[in-house]
């Protein structure tokens, strides 16, 4: 990559489901967003605000109705074909019939890597997520947190410049969750990946991100972008610092400023 390209850039992106029909839903309305190379961005907002949809448009799991999306300077389909991003979901989605190592090898296998190189790379990644001892175990023998670490290792397998994470820690308990956040920050420091991270949790978004993108539902849109001035080195003490609380408050207010009435309507609409 030539450096000046953004990891992600969205220019007036719309996503409308069932356009022209009576059940038309505007999931994304005129989204403008750039993610710099090496930047950590969180997308936060209540259900239905389009944060997952935005991530899925970036990943080419769905296409934009209007507007232009660029991933590392190319279109999302090209980025997907070239494996320019790795993805992690709320469910670890490990394959039961493969052991841990062969789960991490899966994307490499699909790219036609040979057996030895695959194994070497997978072990390197399991080393990174501190699960090398469990390489030959079956996924169901691991706890939820360990499974999610395997999924992260897998998303890094082809060494993509960008990580897309859709509430990866959403199903974990609070303690595991905080440990996983530290883990992710460490991996980010070691690898220098750009990361787009979808979450429901304000403290999680603040702790991890350089900028928090606040979104609002019906229609799904970006209402605020809150920079988080916590620096690069973050640890458990950061969680207790005044600067952390100030950022949490800033994000909460940004959410409240726009969510209030719309959120109530959303809830009525969902029934």
């Amino acid at each position: 990559m030539s450096g000046h390209e953004h990891a992600v850039s969205a220019d007036g992106v719309w996503k409308i489901f069932n356009e022209g029909l009576s059940n038309e839903v505007t999931a994304l309305q005129d989204v403008h967003l750039t993610v710099d190379t090496g930047e950590f961005i969180s997308l936060i907002g209540p259900s239905g605000c389009g944060k997952s949809t935005l991530l899925r448009v970036i990943a080419d799991l769905t296409d934009a109705t209007r507007g232009q999306m660029r991933v590392a300077g190319v279109t999302p389909p090209e980025a997907r074909e070239k494996q320019l991003y790795g993805m992690a979901f709320q469910q670890a989605a490990l394959f039961d019939w493969r052991n841990v190592r062969r789960n991490v090898e899966l994307p490499l296998e699909l790219q036609g890597w040979n057996k030895d190189k695959r194994k070497e790379r997978a072990m390197e990644l399991l080393e990174m997520v501190q699960l090398a001892d469990f390489a030959e175990h079956r996924p169901w023998e691991l706890s939820g947190g360990m499974q999610q670490r395997v999924a992260i290792a897998r998303s890094l397998a082809v060494d993509p410049p960008l990580l897309l994470m859709d509430e990866p820690f959403g199903a974990l308990d609070e303690m595991t969750r905080e440990r996983m956040q530290n883990e992710l920050l460490r991996i980010r420091q070691e690898t220098g990946k750009s990361i787009v991270f979808v979450t429901h949790s304000i403290p999680e978004a603040v702790y991890l991100s350089d900028r928090v993108v606040v979104m609002s539902p019906r229609p799904g849109r970006i209402t605020d972008v809150v920079p988080i001035p916590l620096g690069v080195d973050r640890d458990e003490d950061t969680r207790e610092s005044d600067a952390f609380y100030e950022s949490v408050t800033a994000v909460r207010e940004a959410l409240r400023g726009h969510v209030g009435g719309a959120g109530m309507r959303a809830r009525v609409g969902e029934v």
Binding site: P107, L110, S143, M146, T176
Partner: protein
């Protein structure tokens, strides 16, 4: 994160493997004992009913012709098949059961291949599912008795180069015809089983349709495939026996059942030996499928095993 060696859930140490085998052996011999006890119980009941029949009127005939003694059946095994022949009834039944098994297994393999192929096509193309599935279901509503002479009739006119259609192919074809249906329906469900997340994951890796099938859909269909294989195997055995009878193919257990049944007045125990042969045939095929099951599910957690 401290150390990954801190386990959040117990991971079974690999050392328990040998004791696991011992446990399985022990469980195996216990279930064998139960099976033998079950057979013993059936024998006892049989003789009890016969004995009671002498004193109390029974709703069915308990004479030695319809219900021969168990020991008569056993000794019938050692008698010559026809007067003066060297082969005993037992040998004749074993060879007939073996022949039927070859046909049943052949039909099973063809049925599985066709069933899988249909399932893959139906999974891949929605229009194929909509178009084919009704025919697949309708195919099973045609009575076999009506179908058998038709297949023999059409088959006998088939001649591909040096290969001449024989009636045994018709038997295999009928067995396959019954076997493909449960398999294609089960396999279709299995191929559609992967979660949305798994499918999106594969899509994010830019997996080709072939890779999608090999790396995700086939492995996730196994828990659905195994019960379907069992039903198909049973169907192919029943199909073989019925097809042998209705096409008149000699040498198999189906034809033998009919022939022995005609001799019931002179040698009443003989037909039971043939029935045991048919049962043994079914059990043998079931054992083959169980072996297949153990092989296919070797990598799956227990709750997924069928």
């Amino acid at each position: 994160m401290s150390s990954a060696a801190v386990l959040e859930r117990t991971v079974p140490p690999t050392g328990t493997r040998s004791s696991g085998v011992a446990r399985r052996l022990k469980n195996g011999s216990i279930s064998l004992l139960w099976a033998l006890a079950g057979i013993g119980l059936v024998v006892l009941m049989w003789e009890l009913v016969k004995w009671l029949g002498q004193y109390i009127p029974m709703p069915f005939n308990t004479s030695d012709i319809t219900m021969p003694h168990v020991w008569t059946m056993v000794s019938a095994m050692g008698e010559p098949e026809v007067r003066g022949s060297d082969t005993t009834v037992f040998e004749a039944v074993v060879s007939a059961a073996f022949r039927s098994m070859t046909l049943a297994v052949g039909g099973f393999i063809i049925g599985v291949a066709v069933g899988l192929l249909l399932a893959v096509i139906m999974q891949r193309f929605l229009f194929a599912e909509r178009g084919l599935l009704p025919f697949v279901i309708a195919s099973q509503t045609v009575p076999l008795i009506a179908l058998a002479p038709l297949i023999v009739g059409i088959g006998n006119r088939i001649e591909i180069g040096p290969i001449q259609w024989s009636t045994t192919y018709s038997v295999m074809f009928i067995a396959a015809y019954l076997a493909f249906f449960p398999l294609s329906v089960g396999a279709l469900r299995g191929l559609q089983a992967p979660s949305a997340t798994s499918l999106e994951l594969m899509r994010s890796y830019a997996a080709s349709p072939g890779q999608m099938l090999r790396k995700l859909r086939f492995p996730s269909s196994i828990p659905y495939l195994v019960p379907a294989l069992k039903v198909s195997a049973a169907a192919s055995v029943v199909g073989t026996v019925v097809a042998e009878i209705s096409t008149g193919v000699r040498g198999g257990i189906g034809r033998m059942l009919i022939e022995y049944a005609r001799q019931i007045t002179s040698q009443p125990a003989k037909v039971y030996v043939a029935v045991f042969g048919a049962i043994a045939l079914g059990l043998l095929v079931a054992a083959l499928v169980t072996a297949l099951d153990v092989y296919l599910t070797r990598n799956l957690p227990k709750e997924n095993k069928a």
